[in-house]
Amino acid sequence: NRETAAMSGDSTTSVLQRGQVDLHDFVDWSGVECLNQSGSHSILNALKKGYREDVSLNLQSDADEQLLIYIPFTQVVKLHSVLIEGQEEEAPKTVKLFANRDHMGFSNVNDFPPSDSSILSTDNIKGQPVAVKYVKFQNVRSLTIFIEDNQSGSEITRVQKIVLYGTTVETTDMKGLKKIEDH
């Protein structure tokens, strides 16, 4: 895990601390949603392993340049940093993150203060993860990513890859619970 993190981090791997993992395996895929995505260019192209590495597969916005991505997790996690990659002009610029807010829409997304927000630099969209305000993401059941605009102001935003780094919290895995047998 640290190796892959180091490779994608390029020069500034100091952002990634020891112990952070790619939270890909803890995503609850059945609940992942993305508003305003183009039908043929869905969120999975950016989020899922295999797709996100494929340069020809992108997440694209549809009616306008904004995207609202909802990612629930199978267990509680701590979020450390976020990597958002894209091509120069159409890559995201202003990104707002919301922890544990479900079912937001474009009309009310700006009614809530974001847990963190960031303006992606060229370095970021080329592979440098953004460290988030760790204290605000200690107990995350779901993450909402609001992409408000893109680098060039074009009508369509394209996202190549989204990777979430963090750690898991000790949570009871309900599937692993077994009934105590009476002997």
């Binding site: 508003l35 305003n36 039908g39 306008d64 829409g105 009309s107």
Partner: protein
């Protein structure tokens, strides 16, 4: 979750759709509500009107069909629609749906000419698409190229993977509801498609029968559908109808019960199925039932003092013993065949019925006709 936007503007008074545009639209809306709620118990439907004094939400998305249909009663036609506002209010109402996981859909009945610019509509369409709301457009009523072009523009702006649809229904011999049933508005996409269409077909019908249900296959359903539809319309004309009913009921009753003969004592036909009810018979039944109930209630309170009132009531119906007996017989039969009611139970108690008949003015218990009647009631309840 679905919101239906109704056009209740002045343009809906036109009679080019039978009986008039508004009624045809209301029928279609009722059918859609029924079909949606039947196809999946978790489906919710809400209704709003776009004209009148302004856009008004009649009922927020609910799965209670009775509540939805109730709010459609007494709707008045007037004013002009505000299509843009209607769609936007619908979107807002959907946002506040209880189950956030439900897909959002707006069905808009566009009967008036469209006064908004195409660009405005396209912007609205894009906003709907952005928020993952599907839109079904029923283009009926006023027809002009500009309207069609604007609505087509709206549809293409909102359409995402064919989840939105537009249907053009020109005026013609077929009812608006019948035309809509075979369209994606009823058959839906991913909303339990086939179940939806089947429910809609059962509710509305595609065959040539009135109400689409074969009276031979399902007489009770045909009866219930017809009765409920006709009851509504007849209630407003109750007073005027009574006189006409009196004259015709004898003929109708005869036709219904025996088919040919005009036998006075219909005791022999107590068990005949009302396979093809006449509208007037049932209006009569309801009026008679109402009056009989009144009579019963009063007789239960104090028989002596209320004779005069009952006298008035009964005299409204008829002046002749003969007609009265027929009426009572019909009413009793109808009650016995219908769902259990207090009336039903009360009337099956023969002593009670006999005492009522005896106390009614103009009815002589020793009259052979009345005796036959009482005998028939006895045999009926056995």
């Amino acid at each position: 979750a679905t919101i239906i936007c109704i056009d209740n503007s002045e343009w809906m008074r036109n009679g080019d759709y039978s009986p008039n545009r508004f009624q045809a639209q209301a029928d279609a809306v009722s059918l859609i509500c029924g079909a949606k709620t039947q196809s999946n118990p978790e489906n919710t439907v809400g209704v709003l009107t776009m004209a009148g004094k302004g856009v008004r939400v009649l009922v927020t998305p609910t799965s209670d069909l009775g509540k939805i249909l109730a709010c459609m009663h007494g709707l008045e036609v007037g004013g002009e629609v505000n299509l843009a506002a209607g769609i936007q209010v619908a979107q807002l109402a959907l946002k506040h749906r209880q189950n956030k996981k439900q897909q959002q859909r707006i069905i808009v009945f566009a009967g008036s000419p469209v006064k908004h610019e195409k660009k405005v509509l396209e912007m609205i369409g894009r906003k709907l698409k952005k928020n993952s709301v599907a839109l079904d457009i029923v283009n009926f009523g006023e027809e002009d190229e500009e309207k069609t072009e604007k609505l087509d523009g709206l549809l293409s702006a909102v359409n995402n993977n064919d989840s939105s649809h537009i249907v053009h229904v020109p005026a013609g011999p077929n009812a608006l509801s019948d035309v809509l049933i075979s369209t994606p508005i009823f058959t839906g996409d991913g909303e339990g498609g086939s179940g939806f269409a089947a429910a809609a077909a059962a509710a509305g019908g595609v065959s040539g029968f009135e109400f689409g249900v074969d009276p031979n296959l399902d007489p009770e359903l045909a009866l219930a559908l017809r009765v409920s539809m006709e009851e509504e319309r007849a209630r407003q004309e109750a007073a005027a109808k009574k006189a006409a009913e009196e004259a015709t009921k004898q003929v109708n009753a005869g036709d219904q019960q025996e088919g040919t003969s005009q036998d006075v004592t219909m005791a022999e036909n107590v068990n005949s199925e009302t396979s093809d009810p006449e509208k007037k018979i049932h209006d009569l039944m309801d009026d008679e039932n109402a009056l009989l109930q009144q009579a019963l209630a009063m007789s239960m309170d104090d028989s002596s003092s209320t004779v005069a009132v009952r006298d008035t009531d009964m005299s409204d119906i008829s002046a002749e013993d003969h007609d009265l007996q027929l009426a009572l017989q019909l009413s009793v039969q109808d009650i016995d065949e219908s769902e259990e009611t207090e009336m039903n139970k009360a009337l099956t108690d023969q002593s009670f019925v006999s005492s009522i008949l005896a106390s009614l003015p103009g009815v002589d218990p020793n009259d052979p006709h009345v005796k036959d009647l009482l005998a028939s009631i006895q045999s009926q309840s056995e």
